[in-house]
């Protein structure tokens, strides 16, 4: 494995058009979500919300809405 730094071309991100529709939405992510049960979807949202609340607490941010 080479230890040389990658060139800009090598680390160029995939263009959004390769994964998203014309509105910038990644349809594969939606299809994956649709495979979950409603309960599983809400649980994921809940876990993420708890994580963000913890971050806000750590940063001393008080959020109302």
């Amino acid at each position: 494995m080479s230890d040389r730094a990658p060139t800009a071309d090598e680390i160029a991100p995939t263009p959004p058009s390769a994964v998203c529709d014309d509105q910038g939405v990644d349809r594969s992510q939606i299809r994956a979500y649709l495979e979950l049960t409603p309960r599983e979807r809400l649980q994921r949202a809940s876990d993420l919300a708890a994580y963000f609340r913890k971050l806000q607490d750590l940063n001393g941010v008080r959020r109302i809405r």
Binding site: Q23, G24, Q29, I30, S46, A49
Partner: protein, 161 residues
């Protein structure tokens, strides 16, 4: 219930037979939208009996208004009104909304809601995605407009299924 989450809150509400419709981004997520939300928004039926059931669950969840740091707990009179009760609970933030979108109540929204299974033999009503898109469009705030593409794409995917 120290580490409970949205699922626990919704389960507790439905186990107590609280009549409600999940609206906002939680409704979109339940229907398959991969999105983030800080809270669950519900529109509850504002009959005295239903408000009593709701209050009992809110007490169990340790609900307090998050807009005020005096630890004020919700009361029946607040929950029977058309306003928005923005609460923090052991199970995360929960907004109990008397009405949404220019005074639409539970009864107004019920025909445009669907019942979905949330596990453990329980179901809950959620505002149907196409109606939610209309509500978000009318609200017109930047945060509402920003989610419209993913809501529309989810609706499109659901219709193709």
């Amino acid at each position: 219930m120290a580490s409970a989450g949205f699922v626990d809150a919704l389960e507790a509400l439905r186990r107590a037979d609280v009549e409600l419709i999940v609206v906002g981004m939680a409704a979109a997520i339940l229907q398959g939208t991969p999105a983030l939300t800080n809270d669950i928004d519900i529109v509850h039926r504002r009959t005295p009996e239903n408000v009593e059931r709701l209050l009992a669950v809110l007490a169990m969840l340790g609900a307090e208004y998050r807009t005020d740091n005096r630890g004020i707990r919700p009361s029946a009179s607040y929950l029977r009104g058309p306003g928005h009760n923005l609460l923090k609970t052991y199970a995360g933030d929960l907004d109990c909304l008397g009405t949404i979108d220019n005074d639409l109540s539970y009864e107004d929204l019920e025909p445009d809601s669907i019942e979905i299974a949330i596990g453990n033999g329980l179901t809950c009503r959620v505002l149907e995605l196409s109606r939610l898109i209309e509500v978000k469009q009318r609200a017109g705030r930047p945060k509402d407009l920003a989610v419209l593409p993913v809501l529309r794409a989810t609706l499109d995917e659901l219709r193709q299924k």
